[in-house]
Symmetry: D2
Subunit: 370 residues, 4 copies
């Protein structure tokens, strides 16, 4: 059968075959006084043991909606060195022009890669990675510090280095004392280290969640239903120096598989900036029911569990606030007390916002009654 | 709020974040006498102008359900040569061990990369790509031939080389006469060249649809809703030598964005091996209606349009046979003639099976009546 | 094998099986002075020839993010009357309490169902549908008018009533003259009637796109990748009376399968309220390239085609602004003229915003240079 | 801008807006000697407390790939009786013609709806539901039995009737003794009752998993990522009488949110009919690694955990066999013993195949070595 125009046109449009070359905007709100930057500070390329060219890392970051990345190829582990002849600054140099044209903030970094202790450490904001190629790890770290580096202990609970336990070593205490250690990965790739969260809280380290991606990002993470682990940075502005200032100021939260990990004050701000509450004229009486509509304008699904019995009325045991959806929350007066309450108070635990191991953020809703 | 066990366990399972590391089986049927192998004969890596390490190409092919690939890095175009020092066989050597462990057939190949004419040509089944690095393209092709190469003209209608028209050059006639040209890409990446389909039919060239992928495959193709372009090879068995024999025998069909392009006899076999027809006891009478259930067991959505009026009964103008779904086709007797028909005959055009430019495959259904 | 706790917990959570009972917020912006209400004014239930209980219509509307609906069961066509004994107000009465508790604006309506001319007409904002059950259609319409109805001609190009052409009848002229016809469906279910768009423009009728849904909504529309047809109403506030005032004021746009149909002034406002433009410090010179980032904050994918050659620089022929994504638009200076231009002007046609049949909206971007 | 042909054609095709009206084939294999029928024996319509017309239930079943359903409207609970005047056979009568034309097996049924004990009971394969409308529940059940009914205790752990515990009552023992109780729902809607699974095993009741759907099916179940609960029936043929024979013979398995619950012998058959094992020529030696490819041809994701240490070699602790995907399982020789083993034996627990509460099916793979 001779085909008509229609078919040929369809043949040429082939909408599906091409993957979108557009940047997905991540909807996580800013908080008062700060922009919330989406960052990944641990990334590899073919210039160490990764499997993609440095420009791919910029392209991926752009498509996924990141603001800033650091390519952190290993100094000491170069399995492709039979084929790739380049110095330690090369992956940064190759990625930089594309980062500039795409307005991705590219932070020069490298991974100092040693046996435990002290294990693997990322030096960010360096100027010349070649000078960190030193036999003694302390020499490397001091050189990094002299370049102004911010230094992170990576995957402290990595099974290859700490198969049975996750320990803080004497060497890390010394590094901390010498101002050679500033942050710690609480999340690396698909691993979460609760011990590291405790250390961060007690030893005043900045917390990080990074992808440590080696392969093309899509091979490791399901970007349709989830996202790569990332570090949310609360920066004064969207610049490299503001990011550094924020890291020094411990203003980070980890975004990991629809969970947020960090200080209660930042989590609470993120939560309340994510939602809007819309109640119909509310005049709740005993034996009466009224509804509150809560709209979640963020990309994060929030899971709430009632943390304290509400007084004067009943409210749901569990609330799911799905990303970009609204939930209707029904309140039912269960004592005469409610008839004269000006505020209806509900305290929920947001079970996917974590402040300490096994501890979730509590949030308090105050609904005006009448 | 102190979290209970439930949450921690969920935290550790994080089902979503990890992308599936499993091979998606492509459901396109074998045809009588042959296995249908899913192949991509045009692929790049960092060893020419691609952006991934060769092992990534094997991993991608495995995940997508391919049987065979050829990595065809350019001989003459090596933009990463400031950093990568390797000979022309290197990407094959690096990919081979992984291909063997994953049972992916890896065919050594290379792309001879010249101005038009003759343009870019892939030499497949070669043994030493270094010997093809010759100043004169004919020397390169003769060397390829002496190694037993199967040679393909790539993207003959590429706008960079033929901006306004798609021409067959005198040089290609000479190559064909000298047995230095055996196949042609009718589909390359997202482009379809109808002229090439005509040439293949008139000059007896084997047709190909290849990805010509440079970036990570997910960046270029939407693998959720579509698939990379590929060449279906009807081989006697799943081996490298059987593939070569099939290419020489012109036993290929192009699978491109839910369309199949090729010889009518292969398309017809693929179509009828894809579907099963299940009619209830059918005894169609005039003014009566009966249904036929057609199940499509393949990954391909078939679009059918009635190509000839049916005799004695009416049937739908259009039928959509969605992949892995069934359609109920209603037949309604419209003349007394139908009362005594032993066979109900319907001729449809499958508009996404293309035999020539603007020509779709016609298929005939014979439904037993009574 | 005895299962551990993990499994049992997973068994009890079964995240997947339950469909979300949450309202998806439709992201289509308000325009200056008005809220953009998402409305569907043509809906059926079991109380005429639909297949769901009236409460289902409210539930569906809530889940899909609609603001207002009208249930418009037929007066004259009651195929379930052997089983359902109820008057014409009943579906409204049943739906109303749920609509109130879910804050969905429910507009009482009915469909006067006659042969052509005048065909089917929806009477909205009525008070008693029973009084419209009159033998003479003009009596019915006059009764509707006396109740304050807004009257719409439904699916004017319906093939069952106008198989070969889509005509405006003398009867419609008379209805219009007698103020018994105020609006027209340009889109009904999956049909678009370009003739009706012309009539609306020339005869000053309010345009509508409605679902005319009979089955459960998911059976007819793909709510994952698309949406039901709806009428966007630009209302002063989110109330029933504001909707009526807006309909009388012709302030509607049709939202149909990712297309918007309506007056240029409303489409232009919707477009520019949907996007944000973010250019880096731009100082475009001849032979230089700079980028502009356009972010689409709406649910609508916009397709742009260059409508006029730009002066002093080149810009893309086509731009796709995918919903909730950003596109980087590259501008390249191509004459010295650009060096001193304070504004870079680009005129694009938004091909999925339709003002007249075969006519798309033109939008002009003015980018500050320097 | 005047649009060209392209746009208008696209406008008319609108591929997305229409939901597929095609039947999704459920890929769960037959087992030797039996066809595996996908059935749902607990369904409501507007003729009791459901919210859809009976034909919708047939349409839904067809689209979802079911073979048989029973509409089981309540005898004693008719909340729509102010509007719907019909006898208890009516929903069956209305649904039957469509079921026949779509080749869906429609089993007449009803739900006898009483306080606990005995609670709610479905009578299937009845002939006249009106005769079951009796004051005394035993009279109703005896009438059902006299019509040849198969009787199921529904949702035995329903919180409304058994808020704190899930008990088997003396009354149920008497019903069982009088042959007035033949089956039990172990799964109802989103609830799983482990107690009922124990009772089924000890008291020889046929097990059921049913949807108990009241709303449109899409409102309750996520049909994209999961499926409604259903009862798999192993029948000699695809007929109503074969289903009845199979129910009497206890040949059922529950399919619930990607889990299968039932007798070990049926689960094991389903598992091994679902997969194909393809190992390369295997000659595993100590310190050597070889791979086995397991392809899962079913719609069910299987989760495997090693249940016994393998002898002579190591194999993965966990295996995920994703639906329609293949997994490569690596075996590594860890003792000289393996050098001479003719069979490599692996015992895994399939954690989503449940034979008893907290007990998963063990499956044994025997891989030929050499």
């Amino acid at each position: 059968m001779r085909l008509k125009n229609l078919f040929l046109l369809i043949l040429l449009t082939h909408t599906f075959i091409l993957n979108a070359q557009q940047r997905k905007e991540i909807r996580i709100p800013d908080i008062p006084g700060y922009v919330t930057l989406k960052c990944d500070f641990h990334i590899h390329t073919v210039f160490s043991d990764g499997s993609v060219w440095p420009t791919v890392r910029v392209e991926e970051a752009w498509l996924e909606g990141l603001d800033a990345i650091s390519i952190t190829d290993h100094i000491e582990y170069l399995p492709h060195s039979a084929d790739i002849i380049a110095d330690h600054n090369r992956s940064y140099e190759i990625a930089l022009p594309l980062a500039e044209s795409k307005n991705i903030i590219l932070i020069q970094g490298t991974e100092i890669t040693r046996d435990m202790p002290p294990g693997h450490l990322n030096a960010l904001f360096i100027k010349n990675a070649n000078l960190l190629d030193r036999e003694n790890v302390n020499d490397a770290l001091r050189e990094a510090k002299s370049q102004g580096a911010f230094i992170i202990w990576n995957h402290p609970g990595w099974k290859n280095q700490q198969p049975d336990t996750t320990l803080w070593w004497e060497e890390h205490t010394i590094l901390r004392q010498n101002n050679l250690l500033h942050g710690i990965e609480v999340v690396n790739e698909t691993s979460y280290y609760p011990e590291a969260l405790i250390w961060a809280n007690t030893k005043n380290l900045t917390i990080f969640g990074n992808s440590d991606i080696h392969s093309p990002i899509n091979m490791q993470y399901d970007l349709i239903r989830s996202h790569r682990p990332m570090t949310l940075v609360f920066a004064k502005e969207r610049t490299k120096s503001s990011i550094k200032e924020a890291l020094i100021g411990h203003r980070t939260v980890i975004y990991f598989d629809n969970k947020l990990i960090g200080k209660a004050r930042y989590l609470e701000l993120l939560f309340f900036e994510s939602i809007s509450i819309n109640n119909l004229p509310m005049n709740l009486k005993n034996q009466d029911s009224k509804s509150v509509l809560i709209t979640n304008n963020s990309d994060i699904d929030y899971d709430l569990e009632l943390a304290q019995p509400s007084i004067g009325f009943e409210c749901p045991e569990k609330i799911k606030l799905k990303a970009h959806h609204s939930s209707l929350i029904e309140l039912t007066g269960n004592s005469d007390e409610v008839n004269n309450m000006k505020n209806l108070r509900m305290v929920y635990s947001v079970t996917n916002m974590i402040t300490e191991p096994e501890m979730a953020l509590n949030v308090t809703f105050e609904i005006t009654n009448r």
